[in-house]
Symmetry: C2
């Protein structure tokens, strides 16, 4: 029971106890191991060089390996200090897995850097209770055990922090143990008194108190970990094609009209590919051809032209004022705008003439193109961060600050793995010191060590391998990994597609594939994303590639959202429902708390997400079970086998579930029959009633 | 190629290169990540609070996760500083496993605390070589790539550390690249010149040099990790039973006569259970009965009586002079003596009256017995380390120093997990600061976290779960774990039995079981042990227990070693052969370097141990493949499938193997037929010829 009310609290916790100071036990001998060893603290990052991360309201398992010599019992507390200094104490539970792990679930509610430490102690009451229970019942050392208990109660009574009500109860208990008239039954009743046990659970009788090393936890705003993203190219929204084949670009003014539609689907973030002037030198044509034809708008990733560079807006999109107005309009719709940060230049970017030292100048005096030898990408010059690090670092910071000043708080960073890792650490730390609300999403599709390092040095979110994890087995491993192994430092944003990624699963899976992937992305990760056109089932790839034909990067797209929806050819209603479900169910807005369950079918994926009542904002537990047929070409029926302990229900108990897609309700238990037809509803999203 | 000769070297290494200083690349920006990130260094301990460990001559894999942004290539070096300050540099190889791990195998040859660090750098030659090879062949940027190469060669030539011979070759190569008469073929010949590649492998052309954090590696003497142990009770050796049933105890003088036999079997260490006076109060009788009969000698673990405590010798065993003479005699036989350190007291130990504060005094004034409630062990008082830590720490140190002064360098510590972890950290550090040759073996049969923590805080060796790992599946997992996951900090001593452990496998497996377990223990771990009587196949347990009937702890044992051997009823010849094989084969004296291989039979266990030539003292590689039928009741035949890359042979190559038990030789390849009859020879110990 907390001493503070829920609204005042800096945390929600499964086991908050009254705050008390800890008085450490000390020997004169200085050792690394404490009197009660406390090791392998969690949350943590591999190598323990960077702080672990959480977001406001995220239920974080805090854990430690703790034990002592011999048979005496110990207790472990977690002491938390919020950024504003609010201190709280939490009781850990031994997992009983044979590995001496202790754990408690706590949701921090304040943004900033938290400090936490574990405190181990000999639990003198628990040790006595265990021995007294066995020995008094066995008739061994009975007077001694009774007197030892009475002495413990005396000691507890004299503790300054002990409430008066407990004091009198403890005095009475001590008297009972010392009363020669009271027999074995009466003494055992004291030993087993649940009220007394509760006193000591809240305020244990401690000795050999050992205080572990202080650790930090970086708690970021909720959007760092939770959100539904929607990507679109503003130039396509409101673009007009004339009879002579020429196209007039959409603008921020016309693109603004798309915002209510995006907000209406329930998204939280609109992400725009780069909005800067596009290079004319070596501009790419449609479908990534080397020569642009007249009227081809070029890739917005070839940034910079005579009109300006990374701090300019493409003249065809409008002015800075138009952009600010777009951001304000998004805000009114409850949407945040995410800008693309693509740190590279077209050959006609102003940097090239003003700062050739920011590029790699070759022995022949030319600037090096981006390349993957022997291939060269002649529309782009990569930056060189090593010839003038001070100058280029300052310029990158200036650009980010400029867009923050225009109201942008989220940056989707293009290919961060092609820039020095330490640059990102510096940039993100510097920006977040000025404004901790700024969020950076890493678009690094590369090797695990690199992706994880980018997350550890500061990126709030990361693109992930999700698009390429499509089978049940792949998804089980992937979902376990993101919600457990890497969740202390990496928050994957589960994009179902991007302007560069149209997987074979979507190319060949038909409309069911689009439903399946959206349902999993929206429910398995806390943050997910969709690139415009997904709801229109755009599934034709450039032959031999994993990207859309007529990639929007190189041309305008003309889409009629309303007509598709009216004709029943749009996934928008399904996306809308998914986002509604996400808003109604806080368990789905958690990265952790996911458990994979069993089914007898090799294409029926089952997982649950559970938020216990004690760490839920409403004080009510929230549990969702997702059962997905990941084979988009089939109807399948099978048995699903749940471990309901994952959501606080004992195996064998039955419980009510409601399918949040269809409204159907069933009574479920550990093993349940399901039938999922990909051509109608391939996914159950089940709300489990009555969990704790 | 090392700059030092092998005899001068402080290390053996698979990739030592000439020593050069490193000049770090720096930005003004202070970040935790370096320019070339270097993380997750190995060797390391879980939690990274304690230094990893190795022993002199142990081949240790040094590893690190290293990468850089983009496509340019990097190199990684390991810089080692020996305790005496000898510095060496080693080139790491990328494992190419997709996880950006780099590794090199190095054997430190000097005892003490080493310092190591990794250095990452942009490998400018490798980046150019890769691009030039592809681009010149494809006709892309040919003059540019040639000039870039020539400039690299100019830069290399001007490096101060470059040998003159290399300088002229580099000048010639640069001239070739710049010669307009030389065509594509000639230029590519320079790019692909193995001699030039070798120059740059030894002295790479570095930029962006990043120096990782310095780490420590504790290198202990070889016996800390390698040895064959033999346990016996000195009181049984030379004990005489008279016609009236009374027994005269053996003494150090009579026990000394057993030493040539132990040495003759090839053991390295004789371990003696406690040799101190045995308590008379509540002395245990035979088979752990509560009442000792007259003449029962009592358990040597109930230490202390009127004659003295932990610094005294049991009068029936002799005097301190006799003990010293025993130690000297052992030394002459090439044996070290290990003493038991059992920190507990019989009720009549002098401590009990002189220092009651070192025990737990109960409210009724009595001292607490050892107990596992409701059971009590009334022959033993456990120590309490918390009432007078300074006093008791000092006394324990005094005792250890006393026995060190009598010539003891090895202590087998009884139940260390019942004393505070931090006490052991302090004791071992204090003793090893005075004498780094002293070795402590932890007899902690308890939970993994506790066993591993004892190893991390200082114990040089640990008893392990080996006795209870008997099936193929159990052994595969166990052997992988001890030789990989925990080998940076824990060295299991694979005892096949102890005076307290006679497993069901030995009870019911017959004589074959004894052969199988000895062969695996002697070859799988670098250190193993046998308790006397094992060679006599003593396999009768006290009913319902996992210990010998008529446990030697509570009585004398009378064994006729010579007669058993003469009658063919002794395993001694087999143990002798195992120890001969261990002495002849350095791969068997390595904890790491074990690989588990495949067989088609669920009882045929296969593993190899390999020591590459570069890290072997002789300069010759040593490889052993063990194939064991772990079902002691059967003859089995099956196919064994090796991955010969584990010992430097390509799959499909054939190679000669010799069975070191029988002398049989075969030509083997990847897949091989075996037949192993438990009733004759259940185990092949195969020496693989011609490995690298």
């Amino acid at each position: 029971m907390a001493t503070k009310t829920r609204t005042e609290a800096s945390v929600r916790s499964t086991a908050e106890i009254p705050l008390r100071p800890a008085t450490p036990w000390q020997t004169d001998q200085v050792t690394t191991a404490g009197r009660i060893p406390l090791t392998l603290t969690q949350p943590s990052t591999p190598g323990r060089l960077f702080p672990p991360k959480a977001f406001v309201g995220e239920a974080v398992p805090f854990g430690v390996t703790a034990f002592r010599e011999g048979h005496d019992l110990i207790g472990v507390h977690l002491r938390l200090f919020s950024p504003s200094g609010a201190e709280s104490l939490h009781r850990l539970t031994a997992l009983g897995d044979g590995f001496d792990r202790w754990s408690v679930l706590v949701a921090p509610l304040e943004q900033g850097t938290w400090t936490f430490r574990f405190e181990g102690f000999a639990d003198d009451f628990a040790t006595w209770e265990h021995a007294a229970d066995l020995k008094i019942a066995a008739g061994v050392d009975v007077p001694l055990m009774r007197e030892m208990g009475a002495l413990l109660f005396d000691r507890a009574r004299d503790e300054r922090s002990r409430p008066n009500a407990e004091r009198s109860a403890l005095e009475a208990a001590a008297a009972t143990l010392r009363d020669p008239e009271v027999g074995v039954e009466g003494a055992l009743a004291v030993v087993r008194d649940p009220e007394i046990a509760a006193f000591f659970a809240e305020r244990p009788l401690q000795s050999l108190v050992t205080i572990g090393a202080a650790k930090e936890l970086l708690v970021e705003r909720e959007r760092a970990g939770v959100g539904a993203w929607y990507e679109f190219f503003p130039r396509s929204e409101g673009a007009r094609r004339f009879k002579n084949g020429t196209v007039k670009s959409g603008t921020f003014r016309t693109a603004k009209k798309r915002l209510p539609g995006v907000a209406g689907m329930g998204f939280d973030v609109v992400y725009l590919p780069p909005i800067h002037p596009i290079g004319r030198v070596n501009r790419k044509g449609r479908n990534n051809t080397l020569e642009a034809l007249p009227g081809d708008p070029g890739s917005p990733y070839a940034i910079g032209a005579a009109e300006g560079g990374h701090d300019a807006i493409h003249p065809e999109l409008g002015t800075v004022a138009d952009f600010r107005s777009f951001v304000r309009a998004a805000e009114k719709e409850g949407l945040e705008v995410a800008l693309d940060l693509a740190l590279q230049a077209a050959p006609d970017h102003p940097w090239v003439t003003e700062h050739p030292e920011w590029f790699t100048v070759l022995p022949d005096g030319t600037i090096a193109y981006a390349e993957n030898p022997p291939k060269k990408y002649q529309d782009i010059y990569p930056l060189n961060f090593d010839t003038d690090p001070e100058g280029i670092y300052a310029e990158m910071l200036r650009i980010v600050r400029y867009w923050i000043a225009q109201g942008v708080k989220i940056f989707r960073v293009d290919n961060p793995h092609t820039k020095p890792l330490q640059f990102w650490e510096w940039l993100i730390a510097t920006v977040n010191a000025e404004d901790p609300d700024v969020i950076f999403l890493a678009e690094a599709f590369t090797r695990p060590a690199v992706m994880q390092s980018l997350a550890m040095v500061g990126f709030q979110q990361s693109y992930s391998y999700f698009t390429w994890r499509n089978t049940k087995e792949e998804l089980e491993e992937f979902l376990s990994s993101i919600s457990n192994e890497t969740s202390d430092f990496m928050r994957p944003n589960l994009f179902v597609n991007t302007h560069d990624i149209l997987t074979q699963y979507l190319q060949y899976g038909g409309r069911p594939a689009y439903k399946i992937r959206a349902a999993i992305a929206a429910t398995a990760g806390a943050t997910y994303g969709v690139y415009a056109g997904y709801e229109l089932y755009e599934n034709v790839a450039r032959p031999g590639s994993e990207e859309n034909i007529d990639n929007e990067k190189y041309e305008f797209k003309f889409r009629d959202w309303e007509k598709a929806e009216a004709d029943g050819d749009s996934l928008a209603p399904y996306l809308r429902r998914l986002n509604e479900i996400r808003r109604a169910h806080p368990a789905l807005r958690q990265l952790r708390g996911l458990s994979v369950h069993w089914s007898d079918d090799d294409a029926i994926l089952v997982y649950s997400k559970h938020l216990p009542a004690a760490v839920s904002e409403s004080g009510v537990a929230d549990t969702i079970v997702v059962v997905a047929n990941v084979d988009p070409h089939s109807a399948r029926q099978t048995m699903v086998h749940l471990d309901p302990r994952a959501f606080g229900i004992e195996p064998g108990e039955s419980f009510e579930v409601e399918d949040l897609i269809t409204g159907a309700t069933w009574t479920w238990s550990t093993s349940n029959f399901v039938r999922l037809d990909s051509f109608t509803e391939p996914v159950h999203i089940l709300h489990v009633k009555g969990t704790r």
